[in-house]
Amino acid sequence: MHVLEGEGVTKYFGGLAAISNVDFYVDQGEVLGLIGPNGAGKTTLFNLISAALIPKPGIVKYKGVNITGKKPYKICRMGIARTFQTVKIFANLPVFDNVRVGSLFGTFLKMSPAEAEKTTTDLLEFVGLSDASNIPAKDLTLANQKRLEVARALATKPELLLLDELMAGLNQTEVAQAMELVKQIREKGITIIMIEHVMRAIMNVCNRIIVLHHGQKIAEGTPQEIANSKTVIEIYLGEQTNAGS
């Protein structure tokens, strides 16, 4: 049984299909890459999974259970967590509290305040933000804010993590660190779907890649297959790919 499965997922905005009839699946422990030119519908797909939007028509199933149309908080508690393309941290709260929120509300089984604090401390260490515990989140650098979002998402103890352009806006060193972080998350046994433009990261980390274009799935396969696919190369010709591809 796939951890996450989508059948015929479609979403119209007015007359325009942002996502059109996309089937996809992810298996336990995989890192699935989601790539495509800007506007291809990648973040929309994430929104449809995390229930920020509702597919119409289409079905999304998590561990065999139909989660289409459920509220976002329920989906989080079931085990799906995400980060956002434009960082959506709680700017005026201290870093510690940003992560603590996740552990207090987002887990499948309720955590006691003490457990939540321990989880938070551990996660801050995991992402390397222990020193920044008391700083208001808005005062962090972009790279650190992204790490904070990851820690916050992990605090909800997810089985599936959706990473939306984790590496956007990061320099070479920061990208390498982020890639390392993703690998460590995978080692914890968490399944990951990541939207990325940084090809180096995608090719290095992912087991499998799905390519979207104009809301449709146009290719799917291993990094090797995708790199050699004529269709994919064509749509990326003339597109700005990020440094390091």
């Binding site: 995390s50 920020a52 509220k71 976002p72 908080y73 989080c76 508690r77 967590a81 995400r82 956002f84 959506k88 941290i89 709680f90 700017a91 005026n92 709260l93 201290p94 870093v95 510690f96 509290d97 603590r100 929120v101 996740g102 207090l104 509300f105 987002g106 887990t107 305040p113 604090e117 515990s133 008391n134 700083i135 208001p136 005062d139 916050r152 998402a153 605090a155 909800t156």
Partner: protein, 316 residues
């Protein structure tokens, strides 16, 4: 670090509140009759301003309904005053206000904040019209007379309600629900994705805040010996808490308290001499505060505290 644990450094703030409350409790023994009456006004407005801030402060959802809940409390006392003891009136007034708030919240808090704001804005008029129609059609009379209660009882009743409000609000703020409220105010979409049932939290806190407004109304009803829908449901009682909350600052507990004390004092000064001018002045103060004091006086104080006492301290 942690904001739920108790440590000695954090105890001096609640300590001050306790001292002030104790002082106020003993005041009737040596204060003049006039000072009691004046303090009654202050206590009433502090309750309204603080309960308004408890919800609208952290979430950013502007409620213009305090007058509606306050009016419900007044009307409860006016209607049931002959049949029930004072304490029961206060609790029932509070509960009916809460019920109304839960209803309004369930309707509007699922949607964008603007729907909530405009629904609460018209709520006072709606209730007023409904009651007027009902009274004309069914009871044949308009308005009713209120049982008289002495000032000292009113004073202590308000003080107890305020104490309960402050204690419970404090506990909520320090609990995980306080954190949830703040997260909702910071970024509601992210909060809902982190497992917070944002609609439920908003509705419950809104209902909670309404209780105290209704209770205050039930206590204050006796101030107007004769009550009718026009008197009980008066938009000014939505304006004042908003003004006090914004002027005082919604980020800290003492913000609305400062705002309430200052504005009530000003009202006392201006009311007799310039009946219409004083409301005009308050309108101007509100606009000026929104423009130039967005964090209120409390925000200003916090800014100075950080600048002169050093160190960056995140809002806890």
């Amino acid at each position: 670090m942690s904001t739920t644990g108790l440590n000695l450094k954090k105890l001096w703030v609640p300590g001050i509140y306790v001292i002030i409350l104790v002082f106020l409790a003993t005041l009737p023994m040596f204060g003049s009759a006039y000072s009691i009456i004046f303090l009654i006004s202050i206590l009433m407005y502090v309750i309204l301003a603080v309960s308004w801030t408890v919800f609208s402060g952290p979430t950013g959802y502007i409620s213009l309904a305090p007058a509606a809940f306050f009016g419900v409390g007044i009307y409860t006392s006016a209607t049931l005053g002959n049949d029930l003891p004072f304490t029961a009136l206060i609790i029932i007034g509070g509960l009916i206000s809460t019920a109304l708030a839960l209803l309004v919240g369930a309707l509007t808090l699922r949607l964008r904040g603007i729907y909530f704001a405009i629904f609460t804005f018209g709520l006072v008029e709606l209730i007023k019209h409904t009651l007027l129609w009902y009274e004309v059609k069914f009871t044949g009379t308009r308005g009713r007379f209120v049982v008289v209660i002495d000032n000292e009882t009113i004073y202590y009743a308000l003080l107890i309600v305020l104490a309960v409000l402050l204690i419970t609000a404090f506990i909520i703020r320090r609990s995980k629900y306080g954190l949830a409220l703040q997260s909702i105010g910071e970024y509601e979409e992210a909060a809902s994705h982190m497992g917070i049932n944002v609609t439920l939290v908003k509705v419950l806190v809104f209902g909670f805040s309404a209780f105290f407004m209704g209770a205050a109304g039930a206590i204050m009803a006796t101030r107007w010996t004769y009550v009718d829908p026009y008197i009980a449901f008066y938009l000014l009682f939505s304006f004042m808490p908003v003004l006090m909350g914004i002027l005082g600052g919604m980020g800290q507990f003492y913000g609305p308290i400062i705002g309430a004390v200052m504005v009530t004092y000003l009202e006392e000064l201006l009311l007799t001499k310039f009946p219409y001018y004083y409301m005009l002045i308050f309108g101007v103060i509100l606009v000026v505060a929104i423009l130039y004091l967005p964090q209120g006086l409390a925000g200003l104080i916090e800014k100075m505290r950080r600048r002169y006492l050093g160190g960056e301290r995140a809002r806890t």
